[in-house]
Symmetry: C3
Subunit: 139 residues, 3 copies
Protein backbone atom coordinates (compact mmCIF):
# COMPACT_ATOMS: atom_id res chain seq x y z
CA UNK A 1 0.00 0.00 0.00
CA UNK A 2 1.21 3.48 -0.88
CA UNK A 3 0.01 6.51 1.03
CA UNK A 4 0.42 10.27 1.24
CA UNK A 5 -0.65 12.66 3.98
CA UNK A 6 -0.64 16.41 3.58
CA UNK A 7 -2.26 19.50 5.05
CA UNK A 8 -3.42 22.70 3.36
CA UNK A 9 -3.64 25.99 5.22
CA UNK A 10 -6.32 28.60 4.62
CA UNK A 11 -7.02 32.05 5.96
CA UNK A 12 -10.16 33.33 4.26
CA UNK A 13 -10.31 37.14 4.63
CA UNK A 14 -14.09 37.30 5.19
CA UNK A 15 -16.47 35.45 7.48
CA UNK A 16 -17.59 33.22 4.64
CA UNK A 17 -15.96 32.15 1.39
CA UNK A 18 -15.28 29.29 -1.01
CA UNK A 19 -11.90 28.14 -2.37
CA UNK A 20 -11.46 25.66 -5.23
CA UNK A 21 -8.77 23.14 -4.21
CA UNK A 22 -9.13 20.64 -7.06
CA UNK A 23 -5.80 21.36 -8.73
CA UNK A 24 -3.91 21.18 -5.45
CA UNK A 25 -5.45 17.81 -4.58
CA UNK A 26 -4.79 16.53 -8.11
CA UNK A 27 -1.10 17.42 -7.82
CA UNK A 28 -0.88 15.55 -4.49
CA UNK A 29 -2.40 12.47 -6.12
CA UNK A 30 0.30 12.64 -8.81
CA UNK A 31 2.99 13.04 -6.12
CA UNK A 32 1.67 10.02 -4.18
CA UNK A 33 2.26 7.63 -7.06
CA UNK A 34 -1.08 5.95 -6.28
CA UNK A 35 -2.67 4.63 -9.49
CA UNK A 36 -5.73 3.00 -7.95
CA UNK A 37 -7.19 3.93 -4.59
CA UNK A 38 -9.02 6.66 -2.73
CA UNK A 39 -8.38 10.22 -1.64
CA UNK A 40 -9.92 11.65 1.54
CA UNK A 41 -10.13 15.45 1.78
CA UNK A 42 -11.58 16.84 5.01
CA UNK A 43 -11.83 20.08 6.93
CA UNK A 44 -9.95 19.80 10.24
CA UNK A 45 -12.02 22.62 11.72
CA UNK A 46 -15.65 22.30 12.66
CA UNK A 47 -16.91 25.56 11.19
CA UNK A 48 -15.69 24.72 7.67
CA UNK A 49 -16.57 22.18 4.98
CA UNK A 50 -15.02 20.28 2.13
CA UNK A 51 -17.57 19.47 -0.55
CA UNK A 52 -17.83 18.80 -4.28
CA UNK A 53 -19.96 20.90 -6.59
CA UNK A 54 -19.82 23.37 -9.47
CA UNK A 55 -17.16 26.09 -9.88
CA UNK A 56 -19.73 28.68 -10.93
CA UNK A 57 -19.85 32.12 -9.28
CA UNK A 58 -23.63 32.36 -9.32
CA UNK A 59 -23.96 29.05 -7.51
CA UNK A 60 -21.43 30.06 -4.84
CA UNK A 61 -23.57 33.16 -4.26
CA UNK A 62 -26.69 30.98 -4.06
CA UNK A 63 -25.07 28.67 -1.49
CA UNK A 64 -24.18 31.64 0.66
CA UNK A 65 -27.70 33.10 0.57
CA UNK A 66 -29.32 29.71 1.12
CA UNK A 67 -27.15 28.70 4.05
CA UNK A 68 -27.76 32.06 5.68
CA UNK A 69 -31.51 31.43 5.32
CA UNK A 70 -31.34 27.90 6.79
CA UNK A 71 -28.94 28.84 9.61
CA UNK A 72 -28.78 32.63 10.04
CA UNK A 73 -25.78 34.27 11.69
CA UNK A 74 -27.95 36.83 13.48
CA UNK A 75 -29.30 37.32 16.02
CA UNK A 76 -26.25 35.65 17.57
CA UNK A 77 -28.12 35.41 20.88
CA UNK A 78 -30.51 32.80 19.46
CA UNK A 79 -27.82 30.11 19.86
CA UNK A 80 -26.74 28.66 23.23
CA UNK A 81 -23.29 27.94 21.80
CA UNK A 82 -22.69 31.68 21.54
CA UNK A 83 -23.00 32.02 25.32
CA UNK A 84 -19.44 30.66 25.40
CA UNK A 85 -18.30 34.02 23.99
CA UNK A 86 -18.23 32.77 20.38
CA UNK A 87 -20.47 34.20 17.66
CA UNK A 88 -20.07 31.26 15.26
CA UNK A 89 -22.84 28.81 16.17
CA UNK A 90 -24.38 29.34 12.73
CA UNK A 91 -21.10 28.21 11.15
CA UNK A 92 -21.28 24.87 13.01
CA UNK A 93 -24.78 24.41 11.55
CA UNK A 94 -23.93 25.49 8.00
CA UNK A 95 -21.00 23.09 7.92
CA UNK A 96 -23.32 20.11 8.64
CA UNK A 97 -25.36 20.89 5.52
CA UNK A 98 -22.31 21.23 3.28
CA UNK A 99 -20.42 18.33 4.89
CA UNK A 100 -17.01 17.74 6.48
CA UNK A 101 -15.30 15.62 3.87
CA UNK A 102 -15.23 14.05 0.45
CA UNK A 103 -13.83 10.67 -0.56
CA UNK A 104 -12.77 10.62 -4.20
CA UNK A 105 -11.76 7.58 -6.24
CA UNK A 106 -8.32 7.49 -7.87
CA UNK A 107 -8.24 5.62 -11.18
CA UNK A 108 -5.23 5.38 -13.50
CA UNK A 109 -3.33 7.81 -11.28
CA UNK A 110 -5.92 10.60 -11.39
CA UNK A 111 -8.90 11.84 -9.41
CA UNK A 112 -11.86 10.04 -11.00
CA UNK A 113 -14.18 13.06 -11.13
CA UNK A 114 -17.28 13.68 -13.22
CA UNK A 115 -17.21 16.47 -15.83
CA UNK A 116 -18.27 19.26 -13.46
CA UNK A 117 -17.06 17.93 -10.12
CA UNK A 118 -14.75 20.38 -8.36
CA UNK A 119 -13.48 20.08 -4.79
CA UNK A 120 -14.17 23.15 -2.63
CA UNK A 121 -13.15 24.37 0.79
CA UNK A 122 -16.14 26.16 2.33
CA UNK A 123 -15.40 28.62 5.10
CA UNK A 124 -18.19 29.80 7.45
CA UNK A 125 -16.11 31.49 10.18
CA UNK A 126 -13.05 32.89 8.50
CA UNK A 127 -10.38 35.43 9.32
CA UNK A 128 -8.37 32.77 11.14
CA UNK A 129 -5.91 30.09 10.01
CA UNK A 130 -7.43 26.66 9.39
CA UNK A 131 -6.33 23.36 7.91
CA UNK A 132 -7.58 20.75 5.46
CA UNK A 133 -6.23 17.18 5.57
CA UNK A 134 -5.53 15.05 2.50
CA UNK A 135 -4.99 11.30 2.92
CA UNK A 136 -4.33 9.18 -0.15
CA UNK A 137 -4.14 5.38 0.04
CA UNK A 138 -3.89 2.74 -2.67
CA UNK A 139 -1.40 1.09 -5.00
CA UNK B 1 -4.73 -4.95 -2.42
CA UNK B 2 -7.62 -5.90 -4.68
CA UNK B 3 -9.75 -3.27 -6.33
CA UNK B 4 -12.68 -2.85 -8.68
CA UNK B 5 -13.90 0.27 -10.49
CA UNK B 6 -17.22 0.47 -12.27
CA UNK B 7 -19.74 3.03 -13.46
CA UNK B 8 -23.54 2.88 -13.50
CA UNK B 9 -25.58 4.92 -15.96
CA UNK B 10 -28.95 6.48 -15.15
CA UNK B 11 -31.52 8.43 -17.10
CA UNK B 12 -34.37 9.23 -14.74
CA UNK B 13 -37.47 10.14 -16.80
CA UNK B 14 -38.65 12.96 -14.49
CA UNK B 15 -36.93 15.94 -12.94
CA UNK B 16 -36.63 14.15 -9.62
CA UNK B 17 -36.55 10.48 -8.66
CA UNK B 18 -34.94 7.82 -6.50
CA UNK B 19 -33.39 4.51 -7.64
CA UNK B 20 -32.38 1.67 -5.29
CA UNK B 21 -28.93 0.44 -6.35
CA UNK B 22 -28.15 -1.88 -3.43
CA UNK B 23 -28.33 -5.14 -5.36
CA UNK B 24 -26.15 -3.81 -8.16
CA UNK B 25 -23.48 -2.64 -5.72
CA UNK B 26 -23.67 -5.95 -3.82
CA UNK B 27 -23.05 -7.89 -7.03
CA UNK B 28 -19.99 -5.72 -7.80
CA UNK B 29 -18.61 -6.46 -4.33
CA UNK B 30 -18.96 -10.19 -5.06
CA UNK B 31 -17.27 -9.72 -8.44
CA UNK B 32 -14.35 -7.82 -6.86
CA UNK B 33 -13.35 -10.74 -4.67
CA UNK B 34 -12.73 -8.31 -1.79
CA UNK B 35 -13.54 -9.97 1.56
CA UNK B 36 -12.55 -7.11 3.84
CA UNK B 37 -12.40 -3.48 2.78
CA UNK B 38 -14.54 -0.54 1.75
CA UNK B 39 -16.85 0.40 -1.09
CA UNK B 40 -17.22 4.01 -2.25
CA UNK B 41 -20.39 4.85 -4.22
CA UNK B 42 -20.68 8.44 -5.45
CA UNK B 43 -22.67 10.52 -7.89
CA UNK B 44 -20.41 11.86 -10.65
CA UNK B 45 -22.85 14.69 -11.37
CA UNK B 46 -23.43 17.61 -9.08
CA UNK B 47 -27.21 17.71 -9.21
CA UNK B 48 -27.56 14.13 -7.95
CA UNK B 49 -26.86 12.23 -4.72
CA UNK B 50 -25.95 8.82 -3.46
CA UNK B 51 -27.27 8.23 0.04
CA UNK B 52 -28.37 5.42 2.34
CA UNK B 53 -31.82 5.26 3.86
CA UNK B 54 -35.08 3.30 3.83
CA UNK B 55 -36.63 1.71 0.72
CA UNK B 56 -40.13 2.85 1.68
CA UNK B 57 -42.35 4.68 -0.83
CA UNK B 58 -43.86 7.02 1.76
CA UNK B 59 -40.42 8.17 2.84
CA UNK B 60 -39.29 8.80 -0.74
CA UNK B 61 -42.36 11.00 -1.13
CA UNK B 62 -41.51 12.79 2.13
CA UNK B 63 -37.94 13.45 0.97
CA UNK B 64 -39.22 14.96 -2.24
CA UNK B 65 -41.67 17.28 -0.47
CA UNK B 66 -39.15 18.25 2.20
CA UNK B 67 -36.31 19.02 -0.22
CA UNK B 68 -38.65 21.12 -2.31
CA UNK B 69 -39.54 23.08 0.83
CA UNK B 70 -35.89 23.64 1.86
CA UNK B 71 -34.68 24.43 -1.68
CA UNK B 72 -37.63 25.19 -3.97
CA UNK B 73 -37.30 24.83 -7.73
CA UNK B 74 -39.42 27.91 -8.41
CA UNK B 75 -39.22 30.78 -8.92
CA UNK B 76 -36.14 29.84 -10.94
CA UNK B 77 -35.17 33.53 -11.07
CA UNK B 78 -34.39 33.56 -7.34
CA UNK B 79 -31.04 31.83 -8.02
CA UNK B 80 -28.04 33.55 -9.63
CA UNK B 81 -26.87 30.19 -11.00
CA UNK B 82 -29.91 30.13 -13.27
CA UNK B 83 -28.70 33.30 -15.02
CA UNK B 84 -26.31 30.96 -16.86
CA UNK B 85 -29.35 29.62 -18.74
CA UNK B 86 -29.81 26.63 -16.42
CA UNK B 87 -32.91 26.11 -14.30
CA UNK B 88 -31.34 23.60 -11.91
CA UNK B 89 -29.83 25.70 -9.09
CA UNK B 90 -32.25 24.08 -6.64
CA UNK B 91 -30.86 20.66 -7.61
CA UNK B 92 -27.33 21.75 -6.62
CA UNK B 93 -28.74 22.73 -3.22
CA UNK B 94 -30.87 19.61 -2.68
CA UNK B 95 -27.88 17.41 -3.45
CA UNK B 96 -25.88 19.00 -0.61
CA UNK B 97 -28.53 17.96 1.90
CA UNK B 98 -28.73 14.38 0.64
CA UNK B 99 -24.97 14.06 0.05
CA UNK B 100 -22.65 13.06 -2.80
CA UNK B 101 -21.38 9.69 -1.65
CA UNK B 102 -21.50 6.79 0.76
CA UNK B 103 -18.61 4.69 2.02
CA UNK B 104 -19.75 1.22 3.04
CA UNK B 105 -17.72 -1.42 4.89
CA UNK B 106 -17.16 -4.82 3.28
CA UNK B 107 -16.97 -7.68 5.78
CA UNK B 108 -16.73 -11.37 4.88
CA UNK B 109 -17.18 -10.51 1.22
CA UNK B 110 -20.45 -8.59 1.63
CA UNK B 111 -21.67 -5.04 2.14
CA UNK B 112 -21.83 -4.67 5.93
CA UNK B 113 -25.20 -2.91 6.05
CA UNK B 114 -27.65 -2.50 8.91
CA UNK B 115 -31.07 -4.17 8.63
CA UNK B 116 -32.79 -1.32 6.79
CA UNK B 117 -29.84 0.33 5.04
CA UNK B 118 -30.38 0.59 1.29
CA UNK B 119 -28.18 2.52 -1.15
CA UNK B 120 -30.07 5.03 -3.30
CA UNK B 121 -29.32 7.21 -6.27
CA UNK B 122 -31.19 10.48 -5.84
CA UNK B 123 -31.83 12.51 -8.98
CA UNK B 124 -32.77 16.20 -8.73
CA UNK B 125 -32.32 17.27 -12.37
CA UNK B 126 -33.19 14.25 -14.47
CA UNK B 127 -34.07 13.58 -18.09
CA UNK B 128 -30.39 13.37 -18.99
CA UNK B 129 -27.77 10.61 -18.79
CA UNK B 130 -25.68 10.59 -15.63
CA UNK B 131 -23.16 8.30 -13.96
CA UNK B 132 -22.43 6.84 -10.54
CA UNK B 133 -18.93 5.58 -9.69
CA UNK B 134 -18.19 2.49 -7.59
CA UNK B 135 -14.68 1.94 -6.22
CA UNK B 136 -13.98 -1.11 -4.10
CA UNK B 137 -10.64 -1.61 -2.33
CA UNK B 138 -9.47 -4.19 0.18
CA UNK B 139 -8.24 -7.77 0.39
CA UNK C 1 -3.18 -4.56 4.65
CA UNK C 2 -4.33 -4.65 8.28
CA UNK C 3 -7.97 -4.22 9.19
CA UNK C 4 -10.31 -4.15 12.15
CA UNK C 5 -14.10 -4.36 12.25
CA UNK C 6 -16.15 -3.64 15.34
CA UNK C 7 -19.65 -2.63 16.33
CA UNK C 8 -20.83 -0.32 19.11
CA UNK C 9 -24.28 -0.66 20.66
CA UNK C 10 -26.38 2.28 21.82
CA UNK C 11 -29.71 2.64 23.55
CA UNK C 12 -30.36 6.34 24.01
CA UNK C 13 -33.05 6.80 26.70
CA UNK C 14 -34.83 9.70 24.97
CA UNK C 15 -36.10 10.25 21.45
CA UNK C 16 -33.08 12.37 20.60
CA UNK C 17 -29.57 12.56 22.01
CA UNK C 18 -25.86 12.84 21.24
CA UNK C 19 -23.05 10.54 22.43
CA UNK C 20 -19.33 11.34 22.08
CA UNK C 21 -17.58 8.19 20.80
CA UNK C 22 -14.13 9.66 20.07
CA UNK C 23 -12.25 7.83 22.82
CA UNK C 24 -13.84 4.49 21.93
CA UNK C 25 -12.87 4.87 18.27
CA UNK C 26 -9.35 5.98 19.24
CA UNK C 27 -8.87 2.86 21.34
CA UNK C 28 -9.98 0.67 18.41
CA UNK C 29 -7.42 2.38 16.17
CA UNK C 30 -4.72 1.53 18.73
CA UNK C 31 -5.98 -2.07 18.89
CA UNK C 32 -5.91 -2.40 15.08
CA UNK C 33 -2.18 -1.72 14.86
CA UNK C 34 -2.81 0.45 11.78
CA UNK C 35 -0.27 3.28 11.61
CA UNK C 36 -1.38 4.82 8.33
CA UNK C 37 -4.83 4.42 6.83
CA UNK C 38 -8.45 5.37 7.28
CA UNK C 39 -11.22 4.73 9.78
CA UNK C 40 -14.88 4.57 8.71
CA UNK C 41 -17.48 5.15 11.43
CA UNK C 42 -21.13 4.86 10.37
CA UNK C 43 -24.58 4.51 11.83
CA UNK C 44 -26.11 1.17 10.84
CA UNK C 45 -29.61 2.52 11.43
CA UNK C 46 -31.30 5.04 9.21
CA UNK C 47 -32.71 7.32 11.89
CA UNK C 48 -29.29 8.02 13.42
CA UNK C 49 -26.10 9.81 12.37
CA UNK C 50 -22.39 9.73 12.92
CA UNK C 51 -20.86 13.18 12.49
CA UNK C 52 -17.90 15.25 13.65
CA UNK C 53 -18.28 18.53 15.45
CA UNK C 54 -17.76 20.27 18.79
CA UNK C 55 -18.25 18.62 22.21
CA UNK C 56 -20.01 21.69 23.64
CA UNK C 57 -23.34 21.40 25.43
CA UNK C 58 -24.74 24.64 24.04
CA UNK C 59 -24.06 23.50 20.48
CA UNK C 60 -25.72 20.12 21.06
CA UNK C 61 -28.78 22.04 22.26
CA UNK C 62 -28.63 24.26 19.16
CA UNK C 63 -28.45 21.24 16.85
CA UNK C 64 -31.52 19.76 18.49
CA UNK C 65 -33.56 22.98 18.17
CA UNK C 66 -32.37 23.60 14.61
CA UNK C 67 -33.09 20.08 13.34
CA UNK C 68 -36.54 20.21 14.90
CA UNK C 69 -37.15 23.46 13.00
CA UNK C 70 -35.95 22.07 9.66
CA UNK C 71 -37.70 18.70 10.05
CA UNK C 72 -40.32 18.86 12.84
CA UNK C 73 -41.48 15.70 14.58
CA UNK C 74 -45.08 16.94 14.78
CA UNK C 75 -47.62 16.81 13.39
CA UNK C 76 -46.65 13.20 12.66
CA UNK C 77 -49.49 13.01 10.12
CA UNK C 78 -47.66 15.40 7.76
CA UNK C 79 -45.36 12.56 6.63
CA UNK C 80 -46.47 9.70 4.38
CA UNK C 81 -43.85 7.44 5.97
CA UNK C 82 -45.79 7.58 9.22
CA UNK C 83 -48.78 5.91 7.54
CA UNK C 84 -46.78 2.68 7.96
CA UNK C 85 -47.48 2.95 11.69
CA UNK C 86 -44.14 4.60 12.50
CA UNK C 87 -43.86 8.11 13.93
CA UNK C 88 -40.20 8.61 13.00
CA UNK C 89 -40.26 10.13 9.50
CA UNK C 90 -38.68 13.31 10.89
CA UNK C 91 -35.75 11.22 12.17
CA UNK C 92 -35.05 9.94 8.63
CA UNK C 93 -34.91 13.58 7.49
CA UNK C 94 -32.79 14.88 10.37
CA UNK C 95 -30.26 12.12 9.79
CA UNK C 96 -29.69 13.30 6.18
CA UNK C 97 -28.66 16.75 7.41
CA UNK C 98 -26.27 15.40 10.03
CA UNK C 99 -24.96 12.57 7.81
CA UNK C 100 -24.55 8.79 8.06
CA UNK C 101 -20.81 8.42 8.40
CA UNK C 102 -17.39 9.94 8.83
CA UNK C 103 -14.11 8.82 7.29
CA UNK C 104 -11.15 9.84 9.44
CA UNK C 105 -7.48 9.63 8.49
CA UNK C 106 -5.10 7.57 10.67
CA UNK C 107 -1.57 8.99 10.84
CA UNK C 108 1.24 7.64 13.03
CA UNK C 109 -1.19 5.22 14.65
CA UNK C 110 -3.73 7.83 15.74
CA UNK C 111 -6.93 9.47 14.50
CA UNK C 112 -5.68 12.54 12.61
CA UNK C 113 -8.25 14.98 14.02
CA UNK C 114 -8.20 18.77 14.18
CA UNK C 115 -8.08 20.45 17.61
CA UNK C 116 -11.85 20.49 18.19
CA UNK C 117 -12.97 17.55 16.09
CA UNK C 118 -14.96 15.02 18.11
CA UNK C 119 -16.87 12.04 16.70
CA UNK C 120 -20.53 11.90 17.75
CA UNK C 121 -23.35 9.45 17.49
CA UNK C 122 -26.56 11.40 16.88
CA UNK C 123 -29.81 9.65 17.77
CA UNK C 124 -33.12 10.93 16.38
CA UNK C 125 -35.41 8.00 17.25
CA UNK C 126 -34.06 6.50 20.44
CA UNK C 127 -35.32 4.16 23.13
CA UNK C 128 -34.26 1.16 21.07
CA UNK C 129 -30.97 -0.68 20.57
CA UNK C 130 -28.91 0.44 17.59
CA UNK C 131 -25.44 -0.16 16.22
CA UNK C 132 -22.52 1.82 14.84
CA UNK C 133 -19.92 0.13 12.62
CA UNK C 134 -16.18 0.85 12.72
CA UNK C 135 -13.95 -0.35 9.88
CA UNK C 136 -10.26 0.42 9.98
CA UNK C 137 -7.97 -0.37 7.05
CA UNK C 138 -4.32 0.48 6.41
CA UNK C 139 -0.83 -0.62 7.29
Amino acid sequence: MKSLTDYLWFEVPNRRGFVNVTNTVESLVAKSGVKDGICLVNAMHITASVYINDAEEGLLHDYDVWLEKLAPHEPVGQYHHNRTGEDNADAHLKRQIMGREVVVAITKGKLDLGPWEQIFYGEFDGRRRKRVLIKIIGE
